[in-house]
Amino acid sequence: MASIALSRVTKSYGGQSVINGVDLDIHDGEFLTLVGPSGCGKSTTLRIIAGLETQTAGDVSIDGSLVNETRPSLRDLAMVFQSYALYPHLTVRQNLITPLRLRDLNFWERFPLLGHLVPSRRAKMAQIEKEVQLVSETLKIEPLLARKPGQLSGGQRQRVALGRAMVRNPAAFLMDEPLSNLDASLRVHMRAELSALHKKLKTTFVYVTHDQAEALTMSDRIAVMMDGDLLQLGSPEEVYQNPQDIRVAEFIGSPKMNILPGYCDELGNITCAGFSLDGTLEIPSPGPVSVGFRPEHLTLTEPNADQSLAGKLTYKENLGSDVFFHITQEGIEGSIIIRAQPLISTPQQPGDIIHCTPVPGKPLVFGPDGQRLDFKALAQSGTSS
C-alpha cells in the first residue's frame, strides 16, 4: 500500500513535449484511472511512475520518499502490460515464480545448476512456491500452472499477468490498458473482477485506459489527460456531470455530448439554437460560447412546444434499452443525439421532423477557450421562463 505523488512532471522527446507539468496525488489504496485519447501522455505518465522512463523534469515520490533515481524493481510496484508481456518460454508457474526468484534469491542461489547446491535455496523456494500457490488460488489459475502462455486464451493470459504482478505483494499496481486485448464481453466481465480484486487487496491501483466506460465503472477517481495536460481529476460522477473543460465533456460519456454554438449577452443570458437557457452565468462573458447537452438531457416534445429545438431525424439507433435519435438542423454542424426510452420512440421514422427540449439546469456552457462557465447558483430559482 502506498501513495504516489507526481509534482510538475514533464517529459519531452527531442524537444517534443509529451507531458507538460503534471501534478497528481494518488491516495493510498485508491483506484485511480488515467484516461484520455491515444497519444495524450497517459501511458508515458504510468511508465514514469514505474521508472521505465525518466521524466525530463519534476519529481515522483512513493509514500513520501523521492524515487527519481530509484530502479524500477526497487520501487516495489508491479505492472500489468497491454500485451501481458509473459515470458513465452516459461510455464505459467515459472512466470509467477520469476519476480520472486529475482527478488528473494541471491546471485549464487539463482546460479544455473550450482544454485541447487546452496543450502539456503530450499527454504526460500518452498516459501516462493507457497506464495505462487496462494495467488493462483485467488485467481483460479491453478489448472493452468503447467502450461505455457502460448497455450492460453486471452482471458487466461490476462489472469496470469495479474498473478505475476500480485505474487510480489507490491505497494501499488500499475496497469497499462490491460483489458484492451480482450473481446467485448470478457472485457466487461474483467472490469467487475478487477474492481473486486481491488476491494480485496486494498492496494493502490493506477490504471491507464482510453476507454471512458472502463474509467467510469471501476475508478475511485479519474484523471483525464489530453495533449500532455491533466485536465480534470475527480470522482467518476463529478467528471461526468461537472466537466471543467470542453474536451473532458466531449471525451467522457457515450454517445458524445452535443455541443451547439451559443451566444452570451451582457447580463450572462445564453441563447442557443433558437431558445434561451435557464439561469444566467455567474460571470458574464459576452460573445460566442459553446453549449453542451448530454443526450439524456434532451427530451422529445410535441411540435410547437415552448423552447424547443427542431431537426430532421437522420438515423435511429436502437440499442434495446435505449434509442438514440440522430437529428440534424440547418446551420449546425454534425448531428445532435437525443436519448429516449424505446416506448416513446416508436412512431418516428427517418426523415421526420423531431422536436426536443433540454432538461432545465442540465446544459453546460463553455467559453471560447474551452473552460467551463458556471451558472449562478439556482437556489432561489424555480423561475422557469
Binding site: S73, A78, H89, T98, K148, R164
Partner: protein
C-alpha cells in the same frame, strides 16, 4: 461430374523438374558411387561398397573427415558467438550502428575467392603483412614483454611469441600445425558478419515490453535480462544460424582451393575439396560420388536435427 485430369497437369511440370534436376542426380551419384566409372570410359564395373570401404578405412580419407569436422567445430561456435556478440553490441548503439553493420557485412558480400588471394598475400611468410607486423614487435620491449609473457616473469623463449621472434614466424599456410587453423580463421572472418545480420533480425522481433516486464520483475542487470528474455527469445534464430553455419562450413572449398589445395600433408583436405580432387582432377567419378553421398548424409542429419528442434523446442 467426371473426374478431371487437370490436377496432373498442374503438379506434373514441377514434379518432373524436381525429379530431373534434384532427385535424378542424387540417384545417379548413388549409383556411380558403387562403380569404378571414369569420364570417357566406355564401360564400368560394379564394385559394390568398395569405394565406401576405402572412405572409412584409408588414412587420407580419415584425414579428410578430421579436417572437415575440425573446421566445422572451429568455425561454427566462434562465428556464432561473435555474430551474437556483435549483434547485441550493435543493437545497443544509438548512433553508428549502421556503419558497423556495413563493415562487418563486407566480407560476406565480397567474393571469397578474391578475398582468399588477398589473404594469401597477407599471410605470405616473407612479404606478407601479418608476419611483418608480428616481427616488428620483436624489438619493441613493451610489445615483446607483453606478448611473450616476460613481464609476468615467464621465460620469453618458452612462449610462442618469444620463440618465434628468436627463430621465425610460422608459414601460416605451409605448416601442418597452422594451415587448418588459418583457413578456419578466414572462414570465421567471412561468416560472422552473416550470423550477425541474422541475429540482428532476430533481436528486432523480441518485444520491448518483455524487457520492461523483466525490469519490473527485478532483472536489474543487463546479464539477467539477457538470460531471462534475449537468449530464450532468440531460440529459433539460434537453431537457424547454427544449422546454416554448419552447412556452410561443411561446404568450405574456395579458400582451400586457392590457398592450400588440401595440403600440407592433407591437413586441410576438407570434404568438398576431396570431392573435387577425386571426381574432377583425378577423374575417379565413383570415388567422388561416394564422398558426395556421405556429404549429403551429413547435411541431411543437420537438417533433420534442425527441423526436429524447431518444431519441438524453440517455438513457444
Amino acid at each position: 461430374m467426371g473426374r478431371s485430369k487437370a490436377h496432373y497437369w498442374f503438379v506434373g511440370p514441377a514434379i518432373l523438374l524436381m525429379l530431373l534436376l534434384l532427385i535424378a542426380p542424387v540417384v545417379v551419384a548413388a549409383a556411380l558411387s558403387m562403380t569404378d566409372y571414369s569420364l570417357g570410359n566406355s564401360g564400368f564395373n560394379w564394385i559394390g561398397w568398395e569405394n565406401y570401404e576405402k572412405l572409412f578405412t584409408r588414412r587420407s580419407y580419415n584425414k579428410m573427415f578430421t579436417a572437415s569436422l575440425t573446421y566445422v567445430l572451429l568455425v561454427v561456435p566462434i562465428s556464432v558467438a561473435l555474430g551474437l556478440g556483435s549483434a547485441l553490441l550493435i543493437s545497443s548503439l544509438r548512433i553508428g550502428g549502421e556503419l558497423y553493420k556495413a563493415i562487418f557485412f563486407l566480407p560476406v558480400m565480397a567474393t571469397l575467392l578474391a578475398m582468399a588471394i588477398v589473404w594469401e598475400f597477407a599471410l605470405n611468410p616473407i612479404v606478407g603483412v601479418v608476419n611483418d607486423i608480428l616481427r616488428s614487435g620483436c624489438d619493441k620491449s613493451v610489445i615483446y614483454g607483453f606478448l611473450s609473457g616476460s613481464w609476468l616473469g615467464y621465460d620469453p623463449l618458452e612462449s610462442w611469441y618469444g620463440s618465434a621472434c628468436e627463430k621465425k614466424f610460422p608459414l601460416w599456410l605451409g605448416d601442418r600445425k597452422y594451415a587448418l587453423g588459418t583457413i578456419a580463421f578466414i572462414g570465421i572472418w567471412q561468416a560472422f558478419g552473416f550470423n550477425m545480420v541474422l541475429y540482428l533480425a532476430g533481436l528486432t522481433s523480441v518485444p520491448r515490453e518483455l524487457y520492461q516486464a523483466a525490469q519490473m520483475d527485478g532483472a536489474d542487470s543487463a546479464w539477467e535480462r539477457f538470460k531471462l528474455v534475449t537468449w530464450p527469445m532468440l531460440g529459433p534464430t539460434h537453431v537457424f544460424v547454427i544449422t546454416i553455419s554448419s552447412i556452410r562450413s561443411f561446404q568450405v572449398f574456395d579458400t582451400v582451393e586457392a590457398l592450400t589445395e588440401g595440403g600440407p600433408s592433407k591437413s586441410t583436405y576438407v570434404m568438398i575439396y576431396a570431392m573435387f580432387e577425386k571426381g574432377v582432377r583425378q577423374n575417379l567419378l565413383g570415388m567422388g560420388s561416394a564422398i558426395t553421398i556421405v556429404f549429403l548424409i551429413f547435411v541431411l542429419i543437420l537438417t533433420l536435427v534442425q527441423v526436429y528442434f524447431v518444431n519441438r523446442k524453440v517455438h513457444y
